[in-house]
């Protein structure tokens, strides 16, 4: 039997009217790998995530997950296969307490299937998950309404929400943006722990120093094109990348 890479992105293209936000992007990702995606603002990183996870329909090309074509499927069906994602703008379910925010993803059919069709106590699982991403268990924080949580907690709540469906591939869209240095350094171990569990990772990040500690390989986007791919060190050597980041000429 042929062994497929976990994720194959083939010639992926996305147009918004006249704007080509993604231009024939291709890459593959194997089980257990960690990939970073970087690029200047507006280079198409979020669009790439949206197309992979089914929130946008590609104009051309396709995405395969374990060899199965997923482009064209709805976002909920893609998520059920085990693609979890966070959103760049963390918007929680404001009306609910933090831990109840996780009850919703725990209601997912995927969670039920992985649990062998049984409903567990979702509240307990939710509180465990929150502890995993650094909410203090014995504090009131998990029980506070999401609308009053500070930004750092919202970002981690967003991470926990993506983790709740027990994804095989986790895509993090600028998880560190807006976090303080201290918050970032306390979040990095959480992500390293996920890697140790064997979760495959795609991280979009502007904080390169932290990103390069985590990922094995980096893709650089600029104006919707992939302009470089390689280890962090290789990528930072590339002339194109320097130009893209420092402005041309």
């Amino acid at each position: 039997m042929e062994v497929h890479p976990l994720l194959q992105v083939q010639e992926l293209t996305k147009d918004f009217g006249g704007l080509r936000a993604l231009d024939r992007i291709s890459f593959t990702l194997n089980q257990g790998e960690s990939l970073g995606i970087i690029g200047p603002n507006g280079s198409g990183k979020t669009t790439l995530v949206n197309v992979i996870t089914g929130f946008l329909r590609p104009t051309g090309g396709r995405v395969r997950f374990r060899g199965r074509t997923i482009s064209g499927m709805g976002p909920h069906r893609i998520a059920r296969l085990g693609l979890g994602r966070t959103f760049q703008m963390a918007r929680p379910f404001y009306h609910l307490p933090a831990y109840k925010n996780l009850v919703i993803p725990l209601f997912s059919p995927r969670v039920r299937r992985l649990a062998g069709g049984r409903y567990g106590d979702r509240d307990a699982v939710a509180i465990d998950l929150l502890e995993e991403v650094g909410f203090e268990r014995d504090s009131f924080v998990p029980f506070k309404p999401a609308s009053v949580l500070p930004h750092g907690y919202l970002k981690r709540l967003e991470l926990a929400r993506a983790l709740a469906i027990r994804p095989e591939l986790l895509i993090l869209d600028e998880l560190f943006s807006g976090l303080s240095m201290a918050e970032v350094s306390s979040t990095v171990p959480i992500i390293e722990h996920l890697q140790a569990q064997g979760i495959t990772l795609i991280m979009i990040e502007h904080r390169l120093r932290e990103l390069f500690r985590i990922v094995d390989r980096v893709i650089v986007l600029n104006f919707g094109r992939k302009i470089a791919e390689g280890t962090p060190a290789e990528v930072m050597e590339s002339e194109d990348v320097k130009k893209a980041y420092l402005g041309s000429e």
Binding site: T46, F87, Q88, M89
Partner: protein, 290 residues
């Protein structure tokens, strides 16, 4: 007979387009669905009537005055009510709906019912197109409709304010970063929608009577056109107006006027099953901006 129906069908289509353009424009610019739209229409009608019969202004003053006043009423609706509700779609819908309801039913309460509430035509007389006679007021409607569409197109594509409108419509955040004042533009959008609505009322109402129920009908027609054409799409509005307008007129001709609404309803149901976002609409994508 067939030709006559065609001519009247075109007139009817232009009427629908005129009625829907303002609603669609407001939505296209600021994302606000103005459910008080029908009330603005009727407000113009009664306003002109009052200016003519109670104040004694001549028509050529009363009509433009009411267009301006209705536009200001639209702006006022934004300044007083909507500005506090921006971004809360549910509240926006309910508030505009409530305002429209209050205005319309207030006219009913004041007793503005009856056949004496008519506006004189802006143009008297008729002309003949081959064997078909068409009164000048209906001809005027077509001319106004066509001119207005042209002017709107030029405005949105070639003037600063128009480009600002399009900018807001495409991306409010970016437009704000570029120094476009989003509150002011949204207010303008309601004023413009109101002005267009008033213009439509001034040219259309003389061919019938002014009634409170016309307010509800106009809102229904505007919504129907926007649902079929695709909300926020100007091309959609025009295409849908012609589809609905011609279909309605032919149905009325051959099956009786009771059936006109059924055509519209069937069109809406068909569109909903085949293309829920309308012929030219693009409202369904679940995309994330920024």
């Amino acid at each position: 007979m067939f030709l006559g129906t065609l001519v009247y069908g075109i007139v009817n289509s232009v009427i629908l387009a005129l009625v829907a353009l303002g609603f669609n424009l407001t939505f296209g610019i600021s994302g606000i669905a103005n459910f008080a739209y029908g009330a603005l229409y009727v407000l113009t009608g009664y306003g002109v009537w009052i200016l003519l019969n109670e104040v004694g202004l001549p028509l050529f003053l009363a009509a433009p005055a009411m267009v301006v006043l209705t536009a200001m009423a639209g702006a006022l609706l934004y300044r007083v009510v909507l500005i506090r509700l921006r971004g809360m779609a549910i509240s926006e819908v309910i508030a505009t709906f409530g305002v429209g309801l209050a205005v319309l039913e207030f006219f009913r309460y004041l007793g503005f019912i009856g056949f004496e509430y008519t506006l004189p035509p802006l143009l008297d007389g008729s002309l003949s197109i081959g064997p078909v006679f068409l009164d000048l007021q209906r001809a005027l409607i077509v001319i106004v409709g066509v001119t207005l569409t042209g002017v709107l197109w030029l405005f949105t594509h070639h003037t600063r304010l128009g480009l600002a409108f399009r900018g807001i419509a495409q991306d409010e955040h970016t437009a704000m970063c570029l120094g476009i004042h989003s509150d002011r533009v949204a207010m303008f959008s309601l004023a413009f929608g109101g002005g267009l609505c008033a213009l439509a009322a001034v040219v259309i109402l003389p061919i019938g009577t002014i009634s409170v129920d016309a307010g509800y009908d106009v809102l229904l027609e505007a919504l129907a056109v926007c649902i079929v054409g695709g909300l926020g799409s100007a091309v959609g509005v025009i295409v849908a107006s012609f589809i609905l307008g011609l279909a309605q007129t032919y149905t009325a001709m051959y099956m009786g006027s009771h059936w006109m609404m059924i055509v519209t309803l069937v069109a809406i149901l068909l569109i909903l099953t085949i293309r829920p976002s309308g012929l030219f609409g693009k409202q369904k994508e679940l995309e994330e901006r920024i």
